[in-house]
């Protein structure tokens, strides 16, 4: 049985189309929703989580219509992309307050929030104010609130954006663990290799339409023909750049304010090396790793043609 079913699903914002006649069935397990910025991923996510009403077509989640069906949220956990919080609350207070909306008692909510924070490796920071959290910690506390009430389906909108390499590795491991436990996870990203490291099952979306669905490896073959751009914000970007110069896969290096932007022909090797360097700390701390989606855009253009 599919966890999400959409039939001729469309969403317009006035004259602008966000999603165009999408018909899909998302199977249980981990599914990656992949597309460049502005492709319609967030619109699709908002329709799946019942925050937008479809302009046309139908959508069912876990066998029930999601629109105006708040009881279904007991079975769904949603981690949105935005990163704003009540900065004065501690992580534990925030997650506990949200868990309470699921109708559980105060003590039960506290226990669930603690378990969820432990699962995302935030036990030590549970009592700290969210204002003092790093970008990666904020992502993880958002995931904790999505996970805390033990949902069957977890929907994650760009969960890895802004995380450092170690946090990414941990998060990917955690998502895979959820999949192994028997939960279903829908995770969106505009970076193919992130999705690839979690699942082989993907939905490719561009300009509001589903371009392809199924096995990631076929897409991967296409994307390897294009250089991959990585933006790294670090304590010592020049020291990192020196190390990257020895890498045969690196095609170009440019510096931005406190960051180095690398183009590589071998993203897998590059990310592996970057994670090792971040773990060893030999080139200082790595604060943020992001990847613009220009190479993915090239693949989409290829698919559209």
């Amino acid at each position: 049985m599919s966890v999400i079913t959409a039939e001729h699903l469309s969403k317009w914002y006035g004259q602008v189309i966000g999603l165009n006649d999408v018909t899909i069935a998302v199977p249980p397990g981990i599914t990656g929703l992949l597309g460049p910025n502005g492709a319609g991923k967030s619109t699709f996510m908002k329709l799946i989580t019942g925050q937008l009403c479809p302009s046309k077509g139908t959508i069912t989640v876990l066998g029930e219509p999601i629109w105006r069906n708040p009881c279904l949220y007991h079975r769904i956990g949603f981690c949105p992309e935005q990163n704003s919080f009540y900065e004065r609350m501690t992580g534990l207070e925030w997650v506990e307050a949200l868990v309470r909306l699921n109708g559980v008692s105060q003590s039960e909510a506290n226990a669930m929030a603690r378990r969820a924070l432990e699962a995302v490796d935030l036990t030590d920071a549970a009592g700290k104010k969210i204002g003092a959290y790093s970008l990666g910690m904020r992502q993880r506390v958002k995931m904790a609130q999505a996970l805390a009430h033990n949902p069957e389906l977890i929907i994650l909108d760009e969960p890895l954006s802004g995380m450092d390499p170690l946090a990414r590795r941990k998060t990917i491991r955690m998502i895979k663990e959820w999949g192994r436990e028997g939960r279903s996870v829908l995770v969106s990203s505009h970076i193919l290799h992130e999705i690839e490291s979690m699942t082989a099952n993907i939905l490719l979306i561009n300009q509001g339409r589903i371009l392809a669905e199924g096995d990631v490896h076929q897409i991967r073959d296409l994307i390897d023909e294009h250089p991959h751009t990585v933006y790294i914000k670090a304590e010592q970007p020049r020291a990192l750049a020196r190390e990257f110069l020895n890498d045969a896969g690196v095609l170009s290096l440019t510096f931005e304010d406190g960051a180095v932007v690398v183009q590589t022909a071998r993203p897998d090797e590059f990310y592996g090396r970057l994670t090792d360097m971040a773990a060893s700390g030999e080139c200082g701390a790595v604060y943020e790793v992001t990847s613009p989606d220009d190479n993915l855009q090239a693949v989409f253009q290829y698919l559209v043609k």
């Binding site: 914002y13 937008l52 949220y73 007991h74 704003s84 909306l101 009430h149 436990e181």
Partner: protein, 279 residues
């Protein structure tokens, strides 16, 4: 050897029946406000008139020389009128950020992806402000009535003024609900609680000033309904059976407050959404 399933299992614990998420929102909101020392000081200050009035009642019932201070129905109406200043400050302090802060932090998107309807969210937020407002109007006025009974040692005053119980309740609740709906509607329009506070103050003072100017220019009392505080005051006088000190007729004042409440609900219905769609 039995092998236990380590896979995912649904939560099987007890849950409160749906429809009660508003209570969680209300409790959290009141708790947040009561953790602020400045706000607690404001609440304490709002009870000072109660202490003064209680002393007045005590003096009137125990000292023959102070019998001219003996309470009547007017005392309770005047007391609620005086509390209007605290009603204003508590509304601005506690109400301006109620929805604006959630909009600023995008909390609505997360709240509304939980088993909670928009109605429950709004009711919860209303309950936060209304309960705090009732704490500075209805509760002390009611306590004052009990103080009068306790100090006089008889039920004669109560018997003669039995209408005071429903009058205090009706007027306090009408004030609290009207002001709460108006403030929440304003709060839903912005992401800045400061802006909302200023907007509310401007609307209250401006509507009163405008009502006065219109009267000064036209000498026509029919347009005095423009002032929201005057409308509430007029309705208060009618509820307590006192001659009107306001300028609008009771029917017009009721219609004005009704339209304000319906307008506020409409704004809330339009603005409280998990996702803001800009077309």
């Amino acid at each position: 050897m039995p092998i236990h399933d380590q896979g995912y299992r649904r939560y099987r614990g007890t849950r409160v029946p749906s429809g009660r998420a508003w209570w969680v929102i209300a409790r959290a909101g009141v708790g947040t406000m009561l953790r602020r020392r400045a706000f607690v000081a404001l609440l304490a200050l709002a009870w000072l008139p109660f202490v003064v009035r209680a002393v007045q009642i005590y003096a009137a019932t125990t000292l023959p020389q102070a019998s001219f201070l003996a309470p009547d129905a007017n005392l309770f109406r005047d007391f609620l009128e005086q509390q209007g200043a605290f009603l204003f400050f508590v509304t601005v302090y506690a109400g301006s950020g109620l929805i604006a802060n959630d909009r600023r932090t995008n909390a609505l998107q997360i709240y509304l992806s939980k088993p909670m309807t928009r109605l429950e969210y709004v009711v919860g937020k209303c309950a936060v402000l209304a309960s705090l407002l009732l704490f500075v109007t209805w509760v002390p006025a009611f306590m004052l009535l009990l103080v009068q009974i306790a100090f006089s040692g008889s039920l004669i005053f109560l018997r003669d003024n039995l209408f005071l119980f429903p009058a205090i309740t009706l007027f306090s609740w009408l004030q609290a609900v009207t002001v709460t709906l108006m403030m929440l509607a304003l709060s839903s329009l912005s992401k800045s609680s400061r802006f909302v506070g200023i907007l509310y103050a401007v609307l209250m003072f401006f509507s009163r000033a405008l009502g006065g100017i219109v009267y000064a220019v036209t000498r026509d009392r029919r347009l005095s309904w423009i002032s929201v505080p005057a409308d509430l005051s007029r309705i208060g006088d009618a509820i307590f059976g006192l001659p009107s000190r306001g300028e609008a007729s009771i029917a017009v004042a009721l219609i004005a407050i009704g339209v304000l409440a319906v307008g506020s609900v409409y704004v809330l219905q339009r603005r409280v959404r998990g996702v803001e769609v800009v077309v």
